[in-house]
């Protein structure tokens, strides 16, 4: 079902919903999944992002998102200056990614405590985005829902632990996907929910033995 405010909206800084607003959202997704403003960012632009990115301000939009700006922030055109003030070093280059959507960026992010995150995401039109790769594992989620990203041991019971906990917290799962690098290796569980997940539930989930790392992305407020 179409959201009428995707027809009339978003309120955004121009010039392009896919190349500008979507790029801000991808940057913001990277920032959330990293857990704060990165100190270092290597951004690799693919396809139309590389071809027309500068003219559309895609580069400025991505950095704006990494700094926590929203798609309607009038400071987006000045994001490079803000990055300098906030100690974010970044580089851009152009790449060919195999079988990627034309509006794709791959990002390697480093947080102030040194931990890193790699992320590949595409802008799929109207400002909507899709994350396609996370720390080396193929994934698929959009940020249109509250999203729980769980790195877990590929072992029996991990999924049941999580879904049972969510069910008891009265959180409905809208979409769910599972990916893993190899049997018994790293696995990623992506759970998109209708309701927001309360902090106490997130804390509870973190304590399960099979869960290595948990990140929560709360969808943009109305």
């Amino acid at each position: 079902m179409i959201d009428i405010f995707d027809i009339l909206g978003p309120v955004m800084v121009g010039p392009s919903s896919s190349h500008t607003a979507g790029a801000v959202r991808i940057g913001a997704m990277g920032r959330t999944l990293l857990g704060g403003t990165p100190v270092k960012a290597r951004l690799h632009l693919h396809g139309s992002f590389a071809d027309t990115g500068v003219g559309h301000g895609t580069d400025k939009a991505l950095i704006a998102g990494l700094l926590g700006m929203k798609p309607d922030d009038l400071e987006i055109p000045n994001s490079f200056a803000h990055a300098e003030q906030q100690g974010l070093e970044f580089t851009f280059d152009e790449v060919d990614l195999k079988n990627a959507h034309p509006n794709t960026v791959a990002m390697e992010l480093t947080a102030s405590d040194g931990h890193t995150l790699s992320l590949q995401a595409c802008s799929i039109g109207g400002g909507r985005i899709r994350v396609t790769m996370l720390d080396g594992v193929a994934v698929s989620f959009t940020g249109a829902y509250n999203t729980l990203i769980i790195h877990n041991k590929d072992d029996r019971g991990s999924i049941a632990d999580v879904t049972t906990t969510l069910s008891r917290a009265r959180v409905n799962i809208a979409y769910m996907s599972l990916s893993r690098s190899a049997r018994g290796g790293n696995a990623i569980m992506i759970i998109e929910t209708d309701e927001k997940i309360p902090p106490v539930v997130l804390q509870f989930l973190k304590e399960f033995a099979g869960i290595i790392h948990l990140t929560y992305y709360e969808k943009e407020d109305e």
Binding site: G14, G55, S177, E222
Partner: protein, 316 residues
């Protein structure tokens, strides 16, 4: 009800004795699980964002490429100092469409309606009319719900993306939405709103998306003007009792069909039309000059493992 047929929306509207805007409002309440007040409040913020954007225009700004800027101001000076051919209201509409298109190209805040590239069409007709006739804000919000119903049907049956359907899907859709809103604001019936949508979309059928250098600048900004003027013409025709001989849903389906059959060169790829003219190509070359050479990203570069297994969706 799904907003996927103008005919069905019209039938529902007549059966329940409920205006079209209310059907769209109730659909939003059900879809996003929000109250009537919350939906109206979001629509009010959207409307005010449109008005704020229009009011914040400056003719001094230029786009990143330098191709766009100042024409909205030029048009305003013209109708302030001359008798324009179409009269001052249409001149103001044209100036407003140019100004909003330029706001978008110059990285200012706009409301995608339905897209960023076509964001000038609706405010260009709605804001001057609202000011000229002193229409209450509540009624403007109702008109915006009408445009949402129209846009949802077009997005569902055809497309509102230039990459999928050409400019007819962007400026065409914006023009149809604006025509419906104008017809509503001047007291048109549900049938007349449908005719206005059909007529406006028919007039822009086949319009290609051929942005110079792939940027939302040339010819996008000026196409917002034709979308706005076409909306006025279609609304006036519908209000006069002129009817579209082809029913509105069939027109929308035809737009979708034309869009799917448009060669890829005419769907936002900047490979055909104005983008492929000698001048268009020269602009592209100038924009490309400072680009670094592209390289192929290897696994080593990425510093992360690439897995080949696609993500499996267990529930979609």
């Amino acid at each position: 009800m799904d907003l996927d047929s103008m005919q069905r929306i019209l039938e529902q509207s007549l059966a329940d004795n409920k205006p079209i805007w209310q059907i769209a409002l109730e659909e939003d309440m059900a879809n996003r699980m929000v109250t009537r007040e919350a939906s109206m409040e979001k629509m009010r913020r959207t409307w005010r964002a449109m008005v704020d954007s229009a009011d914040s225009y400056s003719g001094e700004r230029r786009s990143l490429s330098g191709l766009v800027g100042g024409d909205g101001e030029r048009m305003r000076l013209y109708y302030a100092n001359h008798e324009s051919i179409g009269g001052s209201f249409t001149a103001e509409v044209m100036a407003s469409a140019l100004a909003m298109g330029e706001n978008n190209a110059c990285m200012k805040r706009i409301v995608a309606a339905p897209t960023a590239g076509s964001c000038g069409v609706m405010p260009a007709v709605l804001i001057p009319l609202w000011r000229k006739e002193g229409i209450p804000e509540e009624m403007m919000l109702q008109a915006l719900y009408v445009t949402c119903a129209i846009g949802s049907v077009i997005a569902t049956r055809a497309s509102i993306s230039g990459a999928a359907g050409g400019c007819q899907a962007e400026v065409g859709a914006a023009s149809a939405m604006a025509a419906g809103a104008l017809t509503y604001l001047h007291g048109g019936t549900g049938e007349q709103i449908c005719h206005a949508v059909a007529i406006s979309l028919k007039n822009l059928l086949g319009l290609v998306c051929d942005p110079v250098a792939g940027l939302v600048e040339v010819p996008c900004v000026k196409r917002n003007v034709i979308g706005a003027m076409n909306a006025i013409a279609a609304a006036d025709m519908a209000l006069a009792g002129v009817e579209s001989r082809i029913p509105v849903d069939e027109v929308i389906d035809a737009m979708g069909d034309v869009g799917r059959r448009l060669p890829v060169e005419f769907r936002e790829t900047a490979l055909g039309g104005l983008a492929a003219t000698p001048t268009g190509k020269a602009v592209k070359e100038r924009m490309q000059k400072n680009r670094k050479r592209r390289r192929t990203l290897t696994i080593k570069d990425m510093r992360w493992k690439l897995t080949t297994a696609p993500a499996r969706e267990t529930k979609e």
